[in-house]
């Protein structure tokens, strides 16, 4: 069973963001700089899964503009982790829950550890609502020092 935590407990509040003088875009840029992050949205009514380019990279799939192919995504997940991950989807979509889940995704010769954190939100034009989430690789290749041009 997936464990529970409040993944958004440490979210930067508006007041604090202003005090630090950081824009929302900068916060996202900074947070995503230290490992591979991807964002996604799951439309509960249609069952369609929309993902950013990084999600495609995490699952080693060619990027497509439209909804992601969940059959292909799930074929990359370790068989021992798939049932619990799907059960998490089932519960979060039927009970409108947020969740976090850590699972193994196949890479060339072995598996890498990936974590997804998600939250439910209402969708004005649909009764079903949607789940939005972030997925990242838990262990990235370690680079002691790198510089950016920006």
């Amino acid at each position: 069973m997936p464990s529970h935590l409040d993944p958004f407990a440490a979210a930067l509040h508006e007041e604090e963001r202003k005090r630090l003088g950081l824009s929302e875009t900068e916060i996202v840029e900074l947070a995503t700089a230290f490992r591979r992050f991807g964002f996604w949205r799951l439309d509960l009514g249609s069952g369609l899964f929309f993902a950013s380019r990084e999600i495609f990279k995490i699952f080693d799939m060619p990027f497509t503009e439209g909804p992601m192919n969940l059959i292909e995504v799930t074929s990359k997940i370790h068989p021992e982790d798939l049932a619990i991950l799907m059960e998490t989807f089932e519960r979060s979509s039927s009970q409108r829950l947020g969740y976090h889940n850590t699972y193994r995704v196949r890479q060339e010769t072995d598996y890498k550890l990936v974590r997804s954190v998600a939250k439910y939100r209402d969708k004005p034009e649909s009764d079903a609502g949607e789940i939005v989430g972030i997925t990242y690789e838990c262990l990235d290749s370690w680079q002691p020092v790198t510089f950016s041009d920006d």
Binding site: G47, I71, E90
Partner: protein
């Protein structure tokens, strides 16, 4: 009756149950043999769960008891359930033990409920089924704490109970709830990221017909939306 003989008889009764009614009759024999008032098979709670009713799969507990238990959010107060989350070992609870272990008086609602329904203790067993799902069997009543040999016996019977219960569920799914070829096809296309209109174009059907197939599949698999349907179909390996 000596315990080995009792275990064999009860185990045989659980494994031969052909229906949920027969299964619960067998569970009732188990609870009676050990002096408990009620037997329950339930899903393992996760920390987000605050209600017990949605977790119960089968029980002999009165509905009013469950409703009242949930009205007061007593699942949060159950220390045995909390311990099950970090251990696979059987966990017992009792009104007096709660006070001794935690040095905290059970809430008035808990005391009142356990007194009115004559349930002052119980024992919970966590069993992982072949499908990887963790289920809990629990026996509640008013008796002394079970001896170690009784716990061993109940533990084996709980494994048998979960195996029999899961087998019943598998047979039910195979009988009446399996999806038709067309339903499987539209679910598979949905999982592959296609809208109803696109599926209609691929299969030469109207989107209205595609929606009807999807709604049928949602009902058959006891789901509430397409996302749950897709996830369940993948988990049950109906689509690959």
């Amino acid at each position: 009756m000596i315990s080995v003989e009792r275990q064999l008889l009860l185990s045989a009764e659980l494994s031969s149950a052909e229906s949920r009614v027969a299964f619960m009759n067998a569970m009732s024999r188990v609870r009676m043999a050990f002096g408990f008032s009620h037997a329950t098979v339930m899903k393992m709670p996760v920390p987000a769960d605050i209600l017990i009713a949605p977790l119960i799969l089968e029980t002999t507990l009165p509905q009013q008891f469950v409703q009242e238990y949930d009205r007061h959010h007593l699942l949060r107060e159950c220390t045995a359930v909390a311990r099950l989350k970090t251990s696979l070992m059987p966990q017992s609870w009792s009104v007096t033990e709660a006070l001794e272990r935690t040095n905290r008086q059970p809430s008035a609602a808990m005391l009142s409920l356990s007194s009115r329904y004559d349930l002052s203790m119980g024992i919970l067993f966590s069993v992982i089924g072949l499908d990887g799902q963790r289920l809990v069997t629990r026996y509640d009543g008013t008796r002394l704490r079970p001896s170690q040999s009784e716990i061993n016996e109940l533990g084996m019977l709980s494994v048998q109970a979960v195996e029999s219960y899961n087998e019943l569920r598998r047979r039910e799914n195979a009988k009446g709830q399996i999806l038709s070829e067309r339903e499987l096809e539209v679910v598979r296309w949905t999982a592959q990221g296609k809208t109803s209109v696109e599926i209609g174009q691929i299969l030469s059907l109207s989107d209205h017909t595609v929606n009807a197939y999807l709604n049928n599949a949602i009902k058959k698999l006891d789901c509430v939306n397409r996302t749950q349907l897709v996830a369940k179909a993948i988990r049950l390996k109906l689509i690959t």
